[in-house]
Amino acid sequence: MHYLIKLFIQRLALGLLTLFVVSLVIFLSIELLPGDVAQQVLGQSATPENLAAFRRELGLDQPAHSRYLEWLGGFLQGDLGNSLISGIPIWDLISERLYNTFFLAGFAALISVPLAVLLGVVAALYRDTLLDKSINVATLTAISVPEFFVGYILVWLFAVELGLFPSIANLSDDASLSDRLYRTFLPALTLTLIVTAHMMRMTRASLINLLALPYIEMARLKGASQRRLIVIHALPNAIAPIVTVIAINLAYLIVGVVIVEVVFVYPGMGQLLVDSVAKRDFTVVQTSCLLFSATYILFNLASDLISIASNPRLLHRK
């Protein structure tokens, strides 16, 4: 196990290094953006004096490297800093949206992950039958259409025509869990349709790849039924690729949902980020991007660890 801990620490260190570089890249990108936060905020009322006063107030008159170092210093001490524009602590600004984003992602993941694995197993089990082909065509179609298409179709069907679900996810603070689930059902369903295909196809493909291996033939020659073959003999060996693709899709559920947020007016992180880029609110963009990157890296780390744990070759070395 010593080796696993070493590996974990190594990966974690690499992840932190990546994060550091990400923060530099984002910072430089924002530096390169035309116009700055002062001009964006003041707009037409940007007289030279106003601009100068505003910049002084925000510390924008400092050279770039010292601003970056100051931000980094604060960040390392757990101080996310304040929004440049509103002066609100960033944590206050994003905490609720972050929660919303994770809620929606979690909701969609709860539906899609078991569904995808189940469909993948079923498709592998009944490989080359009509059932398998139907699942394949259906998921392929779902993965191929743009997200907004799925979103609008669901709005049209469930909100406009049937009136079953609201077309916008108007959440209130004191909403009960069931109300929340009801109001976020359409966005969650949209996301589910989009991510399920990828995971299902990977599950099916990894299982079928394994079916050609000698130990699966051996199991068959030992008299295992098709179902036992796939579920007991093949699935444990397919955990690594399946978990990897699940991790990618979970990360996508969290960072890649801007379009779904727009369609359903869902108050998540995506819209905030788009706004903040437009407003040049460097601290918000920086922090949110880092959170997203960290999420991505953590998911990958977790999937690596699960892959290792699922593989006796790596878990128990000779």
Partner: protein, 515 residues
């Protein structure tokens, strides 16, 4: 008042009769006015505003901040639903010379926290926008105020450096909301005010929830129990939500769906003439625009009727190369309207010693919806006049810093101002004189009108200024745009609807009610 699709009163906004017919909607007889009713939840969506918006009125801009601000707080004066200046927290005001203004405060008004309104609160609230360190967007509006002093708890005296007869109008600007001073002497920016609603939750960019202030001092106002203000920047989503009844009103309705929206019996569309206008500004100090004949040629070279019809789908009024909208005081309807006349344009070009003219006009779609379309149409209109107008599309980001007043011919846009002086002072003199316009006579008239307290004489002066701008100004002003918005039919409002902003002058929260 003008209400889209209903009987129109003739007068200074009579133009709307034409545009309504143009859209082809039937004119429904106006229903008998209902009386305001208390109760209900009002859910409205606005499209302007972001997550970083604050409750600090010095930073206010966009519907989210302004509407929430005015639900929580009051000004000293307000523009009423009838577009006339009304006392709000001030009971009355007076001045002998337009230089010293005495405002008497309304008595018995208390803030949400129970503190009574005093002159101290007024002074502190207004000082937020004054002084070296202030970053207020309205700093320039109070630049002419030399001092603000209290005369006891009930009176505030303003001393201006030069006369300004419009000063009470200025105080109706959305920046100048009155907030209480706390025990520590600091201004309370957290949302406490004298307004009809108290703040339940404030999630900028997402949703704001307001609860009715049961002790509101204004009669017949603040009718809803609860107000939810949502920020929906995607107009499609907002429209869908309005149609499916998830919201009660939208800040702006897209022209393109009006026809379809109008068929929905549960939805009412409002089209209110306003003062928003684009300008095609020429730098009059530079060749070729330094020759007024060139400026006139460009003014005759645009078909304003066509622009109103095609860009605004009829929801607007032709402008006359001056910024005084028909909805504004001192608008002179008797000034002859400039018409599209390629021959006259050619004539003026010849006068300038030119056979043809080739200029490029900068524009960005971020200025207003249809901005590029408008310029593209202008280009077509100018061809018969021998003018080759090149359309230069600029990126929206940095337009105001890199293009505006930097290029020699560019598109700009201006929001409504309550009085002519404000737009004259901002856009035709001083730092933001975007067309480098200079006229001694115009300057003299502008300053004289500020100290003129005789309404008839002032009207004549403003009329003269409108003519000067029309004939000599450096800006082509094609049209004034209407505010077009929509509400569910069960949300109702009084007979008049204010024209200074969308949604009843951004005061729908306070003025409207649910049937």
């Amino acid at each position: 008042m003008t209400k889209f699709g209903s009987t129109l009163n003739i007068g200074r906004r009579g133009f709307l009769a034409g545009s309504a017919a143009l859209i082809g909607l039937s004119q429904v007889p106006r229903p008998a006015q209902a009386q305001p009713k208390k109760g209900g939840t009002f859910r409205l969506s606005v499209s302007q505003g972001g997550t970083s918006d604050t409750l600090n009125p010095a930073e206010a801009s966009g519907a989210q901040q302004i509407m929430v601000g005015w639900a929580l707080r009051n000004n000293l004066t307000e523009i009423g639903a009838d577009n006339k200046l009304k006392p709000e927290l001030a009971m009355s005001w007076a001045s002998d010379d337009a230089k010293t203004w005495v405002f008497k405060l309304r008595q018995g008004v208390t803030f949400h926290n129970g503190k009574p309104l005093t002159s101290e609160d007024v002074i502190a609230s207004l000082n937020l926008h004054r002084g070296e360190e202030s970053t207020s967007g309205a700093k320039s509006l109070l630049a002419g105020v030399e001092s603000i002093a209290a005369e006891g708890a009930e009176e505030v005296v303003f001393t201006l450096s030069s006369p300004n007869a419009d000063f009470p109008f200025i105080l109706s600007d959305y920046h100048f909301q009155i907030m209480p001073v706390g025990k520590d002497g600091e201004l309370d920016l957290s949302g406490t005010g004298t307004g009809g609603y108290t703040l339940e939750s404030w999630k900028p960019g997402v949703k704001t929830v307001l609860k009715r202030n049961p002790d509101y001092w204004k009669e017949g106002a603040a009718n809803f129990d609860t107000v939810e203000l949502l920020l929906i920047s995607d107009s499609g989503a907002a429209t869908t939500a309005l149609v499916t009844g998830e919201i009660d009103a939208v800040q702006s309705a897209e022209y393109k769906t009006l026809g379809l929206l109008g068929r929905d019996k549960n939805v009412e569309i409002e089209s209110i003439s306003g003062g928003f206008h684009p300008t095609f500004a020429m730098q009059s100090s530079q060749a070729p625009f330094s020759d007024n004949n060139v400026r006139l040629a460009l003014k005759y070279g645009v078909d304003r009727e066509a622009l109103v019809k095609q860009v605004l789908r009829g929801h607007g009024a032709v402008a006359n190369d001056h910024p005084v909208a028909p909805s504004m005081p001192f608008h002179d309807p008797s000034i002859e309207q400039r018409a599209y006349d390629p021959d006259k344009a050619k004539f003026h070009l010849k006068e300038a010693g030119l056979d043809s003219l080739s200029v490029s006009l900068s524009v960005s779609d971020s200025l207003f919806a249809g901005a590029v379309d408008a310029v593209t149409l202008y280009r077509e209109h100018a061809v018969p006049a021998g003018i080759d107008l090149k359309v230069t599309r600029e990126p929206g980001d940095g337009y105001w810093s890199d293009v505006w007043m930097k290029k020699s011919f560019f598109t700009s846009s201006w929001g409504a101002r309550p009085v002519p002086d404000m737009i004259f002072a901002t856009a035709y003199t001083g730092d933001w004189n975007e067309s480098q316009f200079s006229s001694e006579k115009f300057l003299q008239l502008m300053i004289a009108a500020r100290s003129e307290l005789d309404e008839a004489k002032r009207a004549q002066m403003y009329s003269d200024m409108q003519v000067i701008l029309r004939d000599e100004g450096g800006s082509v002003i094609p049209f004034f745009r209407n505010f077009v918005y929509a509400r569910r039919a069960d949300v109702q409002h009084g007979e008049d609807v204010a024209a200074n902003w969308s949604l009843d002058g951004y005061k729908a929260i306070e003025r409207w009610w649910k049937a």
